[in-house]
């Protein structure tokens, strides 16, 4: 029951899923594999977990990983949501510790603004190309 890398990784070469060595990693994280009783809060926690990156397996969100550290992270998320913390506050707490890497949802920062500018650039390019086309093409 160890984490597996996305199956797509396999399409082009050897990959290492976790070897089944004698790893007796024993977590007492209460909510690693247990849902919150409050369905609305569980949904909120689930949505957040899907956007946090597992630190060990790295190609997966903590919602899709069997790595023990992902279990600890899930438990942390669920406990804090249950305690009434807002998902974005939990994300910020983790980013404070691990940097932007831990969040699959890029934050708008000095470093990541191009990610949010690119759709505008694409719209602009498309508009320029299409406008030119139709102005000329529609001339008659």
């Amino acid at each position: 029951m160890k984490r597996l890398l996305p199956a797509f990784l396999l399409m082009l070469g050897p990959c290492t899923a976790t070897p089944a060595l004698a790893q007796q990693e024993k977590s007492t994280a209460a909510f690693a594999y247990r849902q919150l009783d409050d369905a609305a809060k569980e949904q909120e926690a689930r949505a957040l977990m899907e956007t946090l990156r597992c630190l060990q397996c790295q190609g997966q969100s903590i919602a899709d990983s069997d790595a023990p550290i992902a279990g600890s992270m899930r438990s942390l998320v669920r406990e804090r949501i249950a305690a009434g913390e807002k998902p974005e506050a939990i994300r910020a707490w983790l980013i404070e510790r691990y940097g932007d890497y831990v969040s699959y949802a890029p934050q708008f920062t000095r470093l990541t603004w191009p990610l949010f500018a690119i759709p505008l650039v694409l719209v602009g390019l498309a508009a320029l190309l299409l406008r030119g086309r139709f102005r000329r093409g529609g001339g008659r």
């Binding site: 790893q23 024993k26 007492t28 994280a29 630190l55 438990s75 510790r97 940097g99 030119g132």
Partner: protein, 188 residues
């Protein structure tokens, strides 16, 4: 429609649009060349370096030794905080180096992650026990609070409880001098 007009000038794509794909591709090549030739640093470092140790209080991992509170680490003297576990193979590799550091008089606080008392006792018996205190982080929460992404990791904490350095992975024999150096810097 039947009226014949002189054929209009054929429409062509603008010049910038024709060269744009090549320009973008060259940008791609540049980015990839940088990515391919820079040394692959695939570790996830803590961003808490230079910040105070987050507050925590861990219960004792072994009955005869006290647990670990963040306040223990702000007692005026630099410490090492070693994140380890009995299930982690590199931890065995670094055990002699930790032993040497402990012998040099460095207080090493251990945080054992997702571990059990029996396994830990066996591990320490087999690999030596350099630890001043060992806190049991059985659910991994303190590991997360410290921004640690794996085991083993070693933090250098100065006398005011500020994190000065994070060593990711096992301490190899040739890392010991560097760790001592970091401790020296932390005591200033």
């Amino acid at each position: 429609m039947s009226e014949r007009r002189p054929a209009p000038k054929p429409a062509r794509a603008p010049v910038w649009a024709i060269w744009l794909p090549l320009v973008l591709f060259l940008a791609f090549v540049v980015v990839v060349v940088i990515g391919l030739y820079r040394p692959a640093d695939r570790t996830v470092a803590s961003t808490l370096i230079g910040k105070p140790m987050p507050a925590f209080a861990l219960p004792a991992a072994l009955p005869e030794r006290p647990g670990l509170k963040s306040a223990d680490l702000a007692a005026g003297k630099p410490h090492l905080v070693n994140i380890f576990a009995s299930w982690c193979i590199p931890c065995r590799v670094e055990a002699p180096q930790l032993g040497a550091l402990a012998k040099a008089g460095i207080p090493i606080a251990g945080i054992s992650v997702r571990d059990s008392e029996e396994a830990l006792t066996g591990f320490l018996k087999e690999n030596g026990d350099p630890y001043w205190r060992i806190g049991a982080d059985d659910d991994g929460k303190v590991q997360l609070a410290l921004g640690s992404s794996g085991v083993p990791e070693t933090y250098v904490i100065d006398g005011r409880g500020v994190i000065r350095y994070q060593h990711i992975g096992e301490i190899r024999p040739d890392d010991v001098a560097m760790i001592l150096q970091k401790l020296q810097e932390a005591s200033r």
